[in-house]
Symmetry: C2
Subunit: 201 residues, 2 copies
DNA sequence: GTCTATATCGGGATAGAC
DNA sequence: GTCTATCCCGATATAGAC
């Protein structure tokens, strides 16, 4: 791995762990082993390095959601994505940035975050539309809204987990959302949840 | 308002706006107009001031949720609390703390946050239990879980709003949660949502 | 490209007079 | 209780040699 890559990689880690404002060029140098001259050769400012690191973190997180558009039963895809393993106490690499004062105030840093959330939202919307089309969610469900709701459950779940220093609340938040999705499923007759197939009666 | 109060008040504002790590004693002095000597007379360290400010912010936020334990229809109380006016782009005074690296690492600062979330959770649980008891939510609903889910919707809604620099996603997240709650309501025969009273048929 | 040296500034206090 | 002065350190670079 070349120097530039090492810098980006290290900055990405630190931004996940400590955010942008609280990560210093010194921290990056020390963890990466890259010297002062090299750092400022590759990235004229801390902010430039942060932009690269942020893009990297986004590229790291977005692909994980590709399963939402997968083939397969829409609700199963949604459930699979919601319950995929996550380090609840570390939080979201991307969502975290929204709480960093120096990121919030800097359109250049905030823009990629906005784009990433928009891309996630689009995926959610497609999956939820599929679920409505498949009759797994009632027609009264608005996929655009519900997409935001479910993204919020994840982002907020991290907040709860960190506040309690316990991943339980995160898991609860997700499980509660799934309970609600199942309870909201149209079930004209019989509420058998064991059989996910769309048997025609 | 005396000096000490002014310091706490100002620190509270700044912690809401910028968090703990990124707020300096200097910022506090400049906004409050309190001199250097006074500041360190009342609070030996920045951290001590932060603890006081944090408690203040918690006392500011918690009472707003008292309506959850209302009298009145449980689902109406829940809806009223979820839709109460909030400044989505500023975020939660208390939840914000969980993303501040220096707060996360400091048990003394994190503890009040954990207690506040636990208190909120308890209120949510009581309201949701009431809703189940009133037959407004199905018996398959677990109030403990759903409480975390709904708290996460709010906390995560702030994240979405800031990422998009638009309160729309926050409102969507809340509205989507309400849609789901209504869709999940037991409706043995007929799905009339206009009439929220518990008519005995 | 990388190294070492140097510079400026603000953060977070402490000291002691009034 | 409040004021002014002072201190040390780390953040964020810049300079110029190798």
């Amino acid at each position: 791995m070349d120097t530039r890559q090492r810098l980006v990689e290290t900055m990405s880690e630190l931004m996940w762990e400590r955010g942008y404002a609280d990560t210093s060029p010194r921290d990056v140098r020390e963890r990466s082993g890259v010297g002062q001259g090299s750092l400022y050769h590759h990235f004229p400012t801390k902010r430039d390095l942060a932009v690269a690191a942020l893009e990297r973190n986004i590229d790291d997180v977005l692909p994980a959601s590709s399963g939402l558009e997968g083939p397969g039963d829409p609700i199963a895809r949604i459930e699979a994505y919601l319950t995929r393993p996550r380090d609840a106490l570390k939080g979201c690499k991307v969502g975290r940035m929204t709480q960093d004062p120096q990121v919030r105030e800097d359109p250049v840093l905030l823009a990629p975050v906005g784009r990433a959330f928009a891309a996630m939202h689009a995926r959610w919307v497609r999956a939820l539309r599929d679920a409505v089309a498949a009759g797994e969610l009632g027609p009264e469900i608005d996929p655009e809204r519900l997409a935001h709701t479910l993204m919020a459950v994840l982002q907020g779940g991290y907040v709860l987990a960190i506040a309690h220093q316990d991943r339980g609340p995160f898991d609860d938040a997700v499980a509660g959302a799934l309970d609600l999705l199942r309870a909201a499923a149209p079930a004209p007759s019989g509420t058998n949840r064991q059989n996910g197939t769309n048997s025609e009666e």
